[in-house]
């Protein structure tokens, strides 16, 4: 693969993305909301405490929280739910960009002249995938950095320790990109078959379902995933993403794009 070609495609994709107002709104607005919401909620927890049964369950899964006061434990439990928010960004932003990009090219019929150039379809796919993945992962990471900077002020030292512990770091910096990869792959596969970006996003949105499942399990106190858990999840998700990528590469063959994409 030629880096020059991938970079060329990446530059063009970025140029088009920043000119697409709807897409830019999709990329920029949710990270702002997802930064502010946990901070407001975290600061509103105040002196609330958890039911005794839930306290037992939480401490059993996170013994490192045993030294927290009842209100700190309630706060830690509440803010822990928001880790999933930072996984939603690498999940939906790449999906939105990939579907807009591929379906946009299908509608404009601009892929044929590109495919007539001496490039490999894997280079085209790599350029498009990176152009979708980078903003999603970067948004997740940047939002987290802003969040953690504000969290130290809003939450106080104990909750700051919670949102900056290894489980959060593993979730945001390792599982996030893996989720982004699956999201890109879902965007590519669905966009090959669908001609409306919104429909593609709805179908591709199934990648968010496992994240919601993890959130629900955490919210009920059934499963509080630690750093090793997030690393294992990241490996599984990345494996799924790489398997999907093989299918995506097959869908991205010249003949398939020109004769089977409708």
């Amino acid at each position: 693969m030629h880096r020059r070609i991938i970079t060329t495609i990446l530059r063009r994709e970025f140029s088009e993305t920043i000119r697409n107002r709807l897409l830019m709104a999709t990329i920029l607005v949710p990270p702002l909301l997802l930064t502010v919401a946990p901070l407001l909620l975290g600061s509103a927890i105040g002196t609330h405490t958890l039911p005794p049964d839930l306290v037992k369950s939480v401490i059993a899964q996170r013994p490192d929280w045993a030294s927290f006061s009842p209100s700190e434990l309630a706060g830690a439990f509440a803010v822990q739910q928001f880790l999933a928010f930072f996984l939603l960004m690498p999940a939906y932003i790449p999906l939105a960009i990939a579907t807009f990009s591929i379906i946009g090219e299908k509608q404009a019929r601009s892929l044929e002249p590109v495919l007539a150039a001496p490039i490999r379809t894997s280079e085209l796919l790599a350029g498009k995938a990176l152009a979708a993945l980078i903003p999603g992962v970067a948004a997740g990471w940047l939002t987290y950095v802003v969040f953690i900077a504000l969290a130290s002020v809003v939450y106080g030292p104990h909750l700051f320790v919670v949102v900056s512990d290894p489980s959060w770091l593993a979730g945001v910096f390792v599982l996030g990109p893996a989720v982004g990869l699956v999201s890109v792959v879902a965007g590519v596969i669905v966009s090959a078959r669908v001609n409306d970006p919104r429909v593609a996003q709805q179908i591709g949105g199934v990648v968010i379902v496992p994240i919601i499942a993890v959130t629900l399990l955490q919210a009920t106190g059934t499963l509080l995933v630690g750093a090793s858990g997030y690393l294992i999840l990241a490996a599984i998700v990345a494996g799924i993403g790489l398997l999907g990528l093989r299918l995506g590469v097959r869908l991205f063959e010249r003949e398939a794009i020109l004769t089977r994409w409708r």
Partner: protein
């Protein structure tokens, strides 16, 4: 390969099957350098499939073709580097400027910054788009978009240019602008393959015309194709038709003349070799007192040849109505 080979494109038994159906097969033809070949046929005849095979976009099921000496099957990247293609729709990036559209393709083809800048300026000026270079392509008229797409096909200086239906869906004014652009390329000695179902366009722009309908039906120059259907006919316009029967007898009596009849004030004389019989014919008719106003070879349109070759009766079964 090199410019020493006078043939830019060779297709040998080229064919492509989709499922059980053949889109096109048995395509055998050559295009010499600096010539314009028209692929003429109705919608679904296999023109676009042929263009896609020749530009290494899809692989032939059978046969092969070489572009500038490079095989479309075994050397697709070399072929792609040497062809420029205008697809059926312009396929531009509407949110990017004209300049950015061309720059993107210049980069894809590996042109350095100085070459890109020079070529982009050259082609935007050639097609009168330089003043609009910073405007996004989405604001262009259909004709301007088509010209920009042609410029895109040329930016890497290809050995062969493929133009697939360049004036389809354009209004007459835009079509004229695009035809003028193609004419400029022709005059500059470019080798062009023009897929079209516009007979007038093919007649005006092409050195050779290939009739395609699931395969190659006939290929020749427009003049020869017209001549082949006319079979040699001379039209003699006469002012006073007082002695019709006598003139017919005189005409058919001349060696080399097959048949003759009147069509209004025109005496239509069929001859295998019109050039050799015309002087004798004119002398004999003038000697018989015919007031001859005009003598010329009978004109046969490419349209007539098209219907003949395609085996289509205009208006019959709704075809070619």
């Amino acid at each position: 390969m090199s410019d020493a080979d006078p043939i830019a494109l060779r297709a040998t038994g080229l064919g492509r099957q989709f499922g059980a159906a053949w889109a096109v097969r048995g395509m055998d033809f050559e295009v010499p350098r600096g010539r314009v070949l028209g692929l003429l046929g109705p919608n679904g005849a296999g023109k676009t499939t042929t263009v896609r095979m020749l530009t290494a976009l899809i692989e032939p099921t059978e046969g092969t073709a070489t572009i500038d000496g490079f095989d479309v099957r075994s050397q697709p990247d070399e072929v792609r580097a040497r062809v420029g293609i205008l697809t059926e729709t312009p396929g531009l990036y509407d949110k990017l400027s004209a300049q950015a559209n061309l720059d993107f393709f210049g980069r894809l083809y590996g042109l350095d910054a100085a070459t890109r800048a020079a070529r982009i300026e050259h082609y935007l000026r050639l097609f009168s788009l330089w003043d609009r270079r910073s405007d996004v392509a989405g604001t262009f008229s259909k004709g301007m978009k088509q010209k920009l797409a042609i410029a895109r096909a040329l930016v890497h200086d290809p050995a062969l240019i493929f133009l697939d239906e360049p004036t389809a869906a354009l209004d007459p004014e835009a079509a004229y602008v695009v035809r003028e652009a193609i004419e400029r390329l022709r005059q500059a000695g470019r080798t062009i393959v023009l897929a079209t179902h516009n007979l007038d366009e093919a007649d005006r722009l092409c050195d050779q015309v290939a009739f395609v309908r699931g395969g190659l039906l006939r290929i020749d120059s427009p003049a020869r194709l017209r001549g082949s259907l006319a079979g040699g006919r001379v039209e003699v316009r006469i002012v006073d038709r007082a002695a019709d029967a006598g003139l017919l007898t005189i005409a058919t009596g001349i060696a080399g003349v097959g048949a003759a009849h009147f069509d209004g004030d025109r005496l239509m004389v069929d001859a295998a070799d019109p050039a050799s019989v015309t002087p004798s014919l004119v002398r004999a008719l003038a000697a018989a007192g015919a007031a001859i106003l005009e003598v010329r070879p009978a004109a046969t349109s490419l349209e007539s040849v098209y219907f003949e070759v395609m085996g289509v009766q205009p208006g019959a079964n709704g075809e070619a109505a």
